[in-house]
Each structure stands twice: as structure tokens, then as C-alpha cells.
């Protein structure tokens, strides 16, 4: 079973790029041959190029919600989004719509195992590094995500490891 862990964000928008930072940490920690770690600055249709063909998908991305505090981690499943979640994207196609579109067109779409949302607040500015507050919390956030992904990953095939 091939798995993709995808970090998303904008590398020049400071905390918006937290998903990319988490992906970098995961990439250093994971060495399973059946797990790939990728980064993307785009969503929408562009994600087809990255995710089609995988069996399982995890996404790590920045998020902003009304009551969230910077560094809070939320885990969002595909079922949670009904009527409440809208992932703004290039031309309005959110990840869940993308999954539906792919299935409708009979592409080999992965199972979206989880979306990890990291709260970044509303004060995003241009910058190539995370804010000090989020940077300090980054290791703990990454540990939590890695532990969760590890618990959900199917065991690797012995012949492939």
C-alpha cells in the first residue's frame, strides 16, 4: 500500500508555510519505502499530479478558524467537512471536492486518511521563516502528527523494507 504525506503551504508567507516545515521534519524521520513525503504550494487540480495512484493520503496544512490559537492542531476527516469546511484553493476546488472529482472521473484516488490543520491566526505576513511562537511549538506539533500517522499506517510489507 503506497502512502503519501503531503505538506502544504506558501514558503514566503511565514506561518502559512507550517505544513511545509512539518513535511520536512517527517521526511527526515520516515524511511519506509512505501511512504513518500511531498510538499506543495498549490491545491486544486494541481494536486492530481501528486496524489493520483497512491492508496492512502495524509495532508498537513495551515488553517485559520475563529476560536483557534496559534499552534493548535486539529485533525479533520473527510466526513467532518460536510456543510462546514471549505478549503479555499486555486479556483475554489477544495481537497474534498477534488477527491470526489477524481472518483467521479474514475481516477485512482487515495483514501484521505486525515487532514492535519495547524492554527496560524489571521496575521500572516510575507516572510521566509515561521513566527517565533509557532517555531517553538513546531517539534511538539510534528511529534503529535507523526505519532498519529504511524498509528494509522498499515504495516510495511517485509519484502519491500
Amino acid at each position: 500500500m503506497r502512502t503519501l504525506i503531503l505538506g502544504m503551504g506558501n514558503p514566503i508567507l511565514s506561518d502559512d508555510g507550517v505544513g511545509l516545515s512539518i513535511a520536512n521534519i517527517i521526511r527526515e524521520r520516515f524511511s519506509y519505502s512505501h511512504v513518500d513525503v511531498a510538499s506543495s504550494v498549490m491545491i486544486g487540480l494541481s494536486l492530481f499530479d501528486l496524489i493520483v495512484g497512491y492508496d492512502m493520503l495524509f495532508i498537513v496544512d495551515a488553517m485559520t478558524s475563529r476560536d483557534g490559537k496559534t499552534g493548535d492542531l486539529r485533525k479533520i476527516s473527510e466526513q467532518d467537512r460536510q456543510g462546514t469546511l471549505h478549503l479555499f484553493s486555486s479556483h475554489g476546488l477544495n481537497i474534498f471536492e477534488l477527491m470526489n472529482l477524481g472518483r467521479l472521473c474514475e481516477l485512482k484516488m487515495p483514501c484521505l486518511a486525515a487532514v492535519y490543520g495547524i492554527e496560524i491566526g489571521n496575521d500572516v505576513t510575507f516572510g521566509s521563516t515561521l513566527s517565533p511562537g509557532l517555531k517553538e511549538k513546531l517539534p511538539a506539533i510534528a511529534e503529535e502528527i507523526i505519532a498519529d500517522i504511524t498509528s494509522l499506517l498499515p504495516p510495511p510489507s517485509p519484502s519491500r523494507e
Partner: protein, 486 residues
């Protein structure tokens, strides 16, 4: 009693923005403001960096137009270093830019415009999306959209290392060319894209033009705005996406001015209003005349319809034929019907596909002479392209070591910002009457600005966890008297 209706945030639009409609005592729309919460500080972020970094930085500005910013930055570096790309490099850049046009315009048409025209402007928002479109036209069409996009992105990736964010822009050339072995897949992609372009035009005719109510909607005065128009043209006044002279025509279609892109600040004025972060562009030599159309206006528009209004002709035969059909249907040239922008967008995509078929057969495509290294720093450079959303300017200045000391960008949405406000106001006056606003009517207001394909964000990836559309009606004291949410 004045009331205020807020549409916040705008749906199916890159980034965040909101519309405020102010009602008079009779509940009629008195004024409309399209507000943008713009991220600030990009210029400061760039200063002090080597100018060569710009083609790698600017694609991150925007999740919609990475290739346009990348190309404008690359051309600004050409100018900054006083170097002309080799003929082969120019050809390869045009191939890439056309590929981007094809990808971009079909995403807009099928994902943003088609829900309104194929599913219906007053359809349930849950169905008024790409899934609803595919439900109507069939999944084979969905697969074709995905395929045409993917194939053209392979061209972008080949030349500039990766898509969607190309990074390889170099002054004087391109980082990678093509071999004779590559020519076959490039030609196959170009031909596939051309077939798809013909199909898309026919689909528009079959679904939109064959439906009288849709044609009436396009021709409705609520979606009409008389302004100047701006676009790049070649030496024969034909549409040119990649290069040329900036031409402006007046609301009657007569040439008002044409200028070298380097002189943009002599002709483009940027007006600031307290209710929005986006600057309101106008023709500087006419002065800021406010949010006004027709006689006495100083506002101009860019984007696909503007391109066709500005140019005397299209550079490719099929696009020329379709442009003639469009203007005949719309009652002549220039056409001021904002919703016809979708039609013009399909014609521009057709032009891009036709042009790439020609490029694919050009012997220069496989030339090894793809970089002019005769670089001489001039300390100032301006790059200009016709981005899919309209004319885009990048202006850089550096010290003698090529370190950036000034950066100024004029983006398409900024060019259109004032007309978008006016378009929203006209549509709102037609479709909104007091607090009793139906969902379909609100979408018809949104359609007025969606046609411009405005782009607001810097690749926002937030998960708001809230409704994508919220309408708030307030009385003159700011008290909420009604809320409508999707």
C-alpha cells in the same frame, strides 16, 4: 434608513474579499464596494535580494498566476540586464506561456464560469460547481479537462523545471530547450489542446448561446460597462500574450494611446480609497474621475474581452473567425458586456492552442541557441505580459551589484479593481431589492465580478471552517437585521 448587505467571503474566487452593498431608504442599492483585505509587505520582502531571485519568488505570490508572474519577472530581468532572448528562447517562452493560458483558461471556464451557465445561475449552490457541471455534460468531459491541463503542465515543467510554480526563468533565455525527440510529444499536446479548444467553443455555443435566457443575461444592461480597454498588441495590432506594445482604446473603440511598457507609470494612475487596500487604477492623464463609466470616465479594463476589444485582429485564423462571430452576436466592437469575457476567454485559449501547433512545427524549437549571455546591468527593468487576467507589469530597480532597491507590481486585478466595483453595483441594482435577497440573485451579483476572474490572495491555504458565503443585512446603525448563509 440605510442598510448594508455584506457578501463575505466571495465564493469561487482565489483568496478573500467581500462585497458591501449599501441600500437606500427604499431598499434599493445605493452603492457597492468590492473590498480586498490585501496582504502587504511583498515589496519589503524582496528588497535587498538579488534580482535573479525574482522568478523564483514571485510565482509564490499567487496560486492562480504563477506562470504569469514568473514570465513578467523573467522579462523584467531581460530588461534589467539589457539582453534580448535568442529567437529560440523567445519561441520556447511563448510555447510555455501558451501552455499556461490553455491550462488557466479552461480551469476558469469549467470550474468557475460553467457552473453558472451549465448548471444555472440560480441553481442550488451545492450543485453549482464542477461536480454539477460534470453531472450535466458527462465525466468524459471532466477527464478531458484534467488531461488537457496535465499535458500542458508537462510543457511548463519541461522548460522551467517544475509546475505549477515554474522557477527557471533566466535573463536572455530559457534553462532548457527541446530535442527532435521531444517535438513529437509537444506537437501531440498542441494538437490535443487545439481539438479541445474547438470542443470548448462548440460547447459554449451549444449550451450557452443556444439558450435564449443565457444570451439575454449576457446582453443584459446590468452586466454592461462602458470603459476604456488595455492590452498588449503586436506591430500589426493583433493580440499578443507574451510581448508587444500596450494599446488603450476608448469606449468607442478608437485608439487612445499606445506606449512602451517601460513607460507604464506615465499612463497608469493608482488611486487610493480608505475602504479598500487595493489601489484603483485609472488612466493617469485623464485624472481620477471616480467610479464612473461612459462619458468622462478614466477607468479602463483588462482581461480577455479587453484583449479582443483592443486588438484589430487575432493572430491565428480560427481565433479570428470566432472573434468575428462573438462581436457580431454582441452587436459590434468594442463589446462592453462583462459576461462575454467568458466567451473571449475561450477564444484566447483557442489562439494559444493554435499558436502552439505552429510553434511545434517551427525548426527553431530544437535549436541549441537558447541563451544570450551578453548581460549588462542597467539598474532598471520592466517586464510586461498579458497575464490570463490581463496586463501585468513588473518593475525592478537595483544597485550596481544587482541587489533590488525597488519593486513595483501592477497586477491585472488591480487594473480591473474600479470597474469591478462598478460592475457589482450595476448588477446589484438589477438583482437586489432590500433585505429580501434570494440566493440566486446574490449569485447573479457575484457573476458580475467572477467574469473578471479576479485574484486576491497569495496562495491561501487556510481552512476557515465557516460558511463560504454569508450575507449580512444591517440597518443604518450597524445592527444586523438578517443573515443569509450557504
Amino acid at each position: 434608513m440605510a442598510r448594508k448587505i455584506t457578501i463575505d467571503p466571495i465564493t469561487r474566487l482565489e483568496g478573500h474579499g467581500k462585497i458591501e452593498l449599501l441600500l437606500d431608504e427604499q431598499g434599493r442599492v445605493k452603492d457597492a464596494y468590492w473590498q480586498v483585505a490585501e496582504l502587504r509587505g511583498f515589496e519589503r520582502f524582496c528588497l535587498g535580494r538579488p534580482a535573479e531571485e525574482m522568478p523564483r519568488i514571485v510565482p509564490n505570490i499567487c496560486g492562480v498566476c504563477p506562470s504569469a508572474h514568473h514570465m513578467a519577472a523573467t522579462k523584467a530581468l531581460d530588461d534589467l540586464y539589457g539582453v534580448e532572448p535568442t529567437p529560440a528562447a523567445r519561441l520556447i517562452r511563448e510555447l510555455e506561456f501558451n501552455a499556461f493560458y490553455i491550462e488557466d483558461h479552461y480551469i476558469h471556464f469549467f470550474f468557475l464560469a460553467a457552473p453558472d451557465f451549465v448548471v444555472g445561475p440560480d441553481a442550488d449552490p451545492k450543485e453549482r460547481n464542477i461536480l454539477g457541471v460534470i453531472g450535466k455534460v458527462g465525466k468524459k468531459i471532466g477527464l478531458k479537462v484534467i488531461e488537457v491541463r496535465k499535458r500542458n503542465r508537462d510543457i511548463i515543467r519541461h522548460i522551467f523545471t517544475k509546475a505549477p510554480h515554474p522557477e527557471g526563468g533566466l535573463p536572455g533565455g530559457v534553462p532548457r530547450g527541446f530535442t527532435e525527440q521531444d517535438r513529437k510529444w509537444v506537437k501531440d499536446t498542441a494538437v490535443f489542446s487545439l481539438d479541445f479548444a474547438k470542443f470548448a467553443i462548440q460547447l459554449f455555443k451549444d449550451v450557452v448561446l443556444a439558450n435564449k435566457s443565457y444570451v439575454d443575461m449576457i446582453l443584459n444592461d446590468a452586466y454592461k460597462l462602458k470603459t476604456y480597454y488595455m492590452a498588449l498588441v503586436d506591430e500589426n495590432n493583433r493580440v499578443n500574450f507574451y510581448d508587444g506594445t500596450v494599446r488603450v482604446v476608448d469606449p468607442e473603440g478608437k485608439e487612445y494611446v499606445r506606449f512602451d511598457p517601460r513607460d507604464y507609470d506615465r499612463y497608469i494612475g493608482e488611486w487610493v480609497e480608505p475602504w479598500t487596500y487595493i489601489r484603483l487604477n485609472h488612466l493617469r492623464q485623464l485624472g481620477w474621475q471616480g467610479l464612473k463609466e461612459g462619458d468622462g470616465t478614466s477607468l479602463y479594463r483588462v482581461a480577455p474581452l479587453a484583449r479582443l476589444n483592443v486588438a484589430d485582429a487575432m493572430p491565428t485564423p480560427l481565433a479570428q473567425k470566432e472573434a468575428e462571430i462573438m462581436f457580431e452576436t454582441l452587436g459590434g466592437k468594442p463589446a462592453h458586456h462583462t459576461l462575454a469575457t467568458h466567451w473571449a476567454r475561450l477564444i484566447c485559449a483557442l489562439q494559444a492552442a493554435e499558436h502552439n501547433v505552429i510553434i511545434a512545427d517551427d525548426p527553431r524549437l530544437t535549436s541549441k541557441d537558447i541563451r544570450n549571455m551578453n548581460l549588462k546591468l542597467k539598474n532598471k527593468g520592466v517586464g510586461c505580459v498579458e497575464a490570463p487576467r490581463g496586463t501585468l507589469f513588473h518593475h525592478y530597480e537595483t544597485d550596481d551589484n544587482g541587489i533590488l532597491t525597488k519593486v513595483n507590481l501592477i497586477v491585472a486585478t488591480q487594473n480591473n479593481s474600479a470597474p469591478i466595483c462598478l460592475s457589482v453595483k450595476k448588477a446589484a441594482r438589477e438583482f437586489v431589492q432590500g433585505p429580501e435577497v434570494k440566493e440566486g440573485f446574490l449569485n447573479m451579483v457575484e457573476m458580475a465580478f467572477r467574469a473578471y476572474d479576479p485574484c486576491l490572495s497569495c496562495a491561501t491555504h487556510s481552512l476557515p471552517g465557516t460558511m463560504p458565503l454569508e450575507v449580512t443585512i444591517r440597518d443604518h446603525e450597524g445592527k444586523v437585521i438578517r443573515k443569509i448563509g450557504r
